[in-house]
């Protein structure tokens, strides 16, 4: 078990061996951007390796399945597969949606954001190719993600009239309270 002493387990110690790899440099940042869909997939016909059949367009979901410590990462070849512009474009997109200054530079703020706890579902996916194949990779989504621009105008609530006032809420009797 994980070691703890307090009754509410609030002091539980996570084993150091089970720590997630931190995003520290351009390479790990590239893996992050690829895993969560910011870096568009590349046709791997010629780069297919036996050990990690990462993906191809028809029989495996678009999103990469990075094997921890796998020998072949996206930039397994000596020269990075991604020309700088693509990496910078992806980095800027991540910075934009994360509300960071859009610098295109792998700076500290971006590093911090990439290391935050997050959901494993990619932020950008090609919905059609994944869902059709009963994807074995996390769910879903086409390239358009819902951002602030789609916020609709809040319902403008008129002023109360009459003598009575809407009492916020006063749970009556034994109503269960959450």
């Amino acid at each position: 078990e994980n070691i703890f002493h307090n009754r509410d387990h609030s002091d539980v110690e996570m084993p150091s061996t089970h720590q997630a790899e931190r995003i520290t440099d351009k390479e790990t940042a590239e893996q992050f951007l690829s895993k969560y869909g910011f870096l568009k997939p590349v046709n791997w016909e010629e780069v297919q390796s036996e050990e990690t059949n990462l993906w191809s367009s028809d029989d495996f979901p678009v999103t990469s399945v990075l094997q921890e410590g796998s020998s072949t990462s996206r930039s397994g070849r000596s020269d990075s597969l991604f020309e700088p512009p693509e990496f910078i474009v992806a980095l800027k997109e991540f910075q934009r949606v994360s509300g960071l200054p859009v610098t295109g530079v792998f700076d500290d703020a971006t590093k911090t954001a990439m290391n935050k706890p997050r959901c494993g579902v990619p932020d950008k996916m090609d919905l059609n190719s994944t869902a059709d194949h009963n994807s074995t990779s996390p769910a879903l989504w086409n390239d358009t993600t819902i951002t602030n621009e789609t916020e609709s105008e809040m319902f403008d609530f008129g002023v109360l009239n009459g003598t009575a006032q809407d009492n916020q809420h006063e749970p009556e009797g034994l109503g269960p309270i959450r």
Binding site: M14, H18, G120, N128, A131, T136, T145, I146, H169, E172
Partner: protein, 425 residues
Amino acid sequence: KKRDLAALVHGRRHRRDVMEMGHVAFSKTVLKWRLIGEGYSSQLSVDDQRYIFRLAFRMWSEVSPLEFLEDQSSPLEDIDIRLGFGTGRHLGCTQRFDGAGREFAHAWFLGDIHFDDDEHFTAPNTGNGISLLKVAVHEIGHVLGLPHIYRTGSIMQPSYLPQEATFELDWMDRRAIQHLYGGCKGHFSTVFDWIRKERTQYGEVVVRFNTYFMRDSWYWLYENRNNRTRYGDPVAVQVGWHGIPSGGVDAHVHVWTRNTDAVYFFKGTQYWRYDGENDQVFTMDPDTGHRYPRLISEGFSGVSGPIDTAFFDRRDSHIYFFRGTDVYKFDIRANRLAAGFPKKITEIFPAVIPGNHPKGNLDAAYFSYLHNSIFLLKGTSYWRVAGMRDRLRRLSLPYNALMPQREVDQQWFDICNVHASALRI
């Protein structure tokens, strides 16, 4: 081979085709879920884990037409949503977890949710760590078809934000899920404003009201200023209203004049007077000594139950009882039916637009203090009774004319059922 296996495993999933709708959603509204036995967390008791997931599913059910049922007995392939904890390579999943930090969970379309048990998940209001409730609500959102949403306040933001005191599904997240599954519609048994009179320290009497919607054996408090129901509703009628039939009522009437202040609930052929001070029905009427429940025909001669609905009109101090296509106008001062009644509803409440009228069999007649208007509800629609202001604007409008039909869920938002099994939370 892989695709066939996947199809076999996922083949029974009910889903609408992606291409047809541009997104994917379950095509049924009652969904079964289970925390799988080989996926228990080592950090929280199994009961805590199941309670948190039940609450997480309920939070989605409170804002969508979906209902969720925890099912621990059906064959696994009949379970729509399977949840489990694991670390590193886990539960036969193709995505391995990365240990403590960074990725804390992932979810599949219309399917399973896996939580990284290397993360320090905590129950609500206990210690710092990652709130399992918040993560569960997020991942369930994915399973139901929602993507990541980069909007402050959205539960679907990809990064985990330490939970403020409470978190709830806001207006935009509700619209997002209802975009996939539609809004919450349904008839109501009755709707009313409950009046509370309080005295301020200066001796003034202040009147407050709360709006309640009742449907069969459940009710919601509706918070007008927030355009939503109270978080955590619906609640069972018997929990909040003591002594009235637990299966629900037909009508609520608040007779409120200069010298009378009495609330009545009607069900079938009987009615009860309600004691607001002690929050229960009267067994004996403090003014008349009559015992409750009492026959409607005894208390309101000329009217016999069951009625469809009723309301008290403070303008003319009459109770209007509705039954089928008829309306009975009862004079509470003379304690008898007004002359010439019953009459047709269409006659007493004529349509502004010919033919645009509920005709009869109403569900609720609701005087709203907020809108200073009477609403007649039937099914998922309502008709507002034209008031003074309307008639000043359009002098031709007859008294009590019914404005055109509108949809209830466009005026009062997100009044959603939850599965009966979820009522005990």
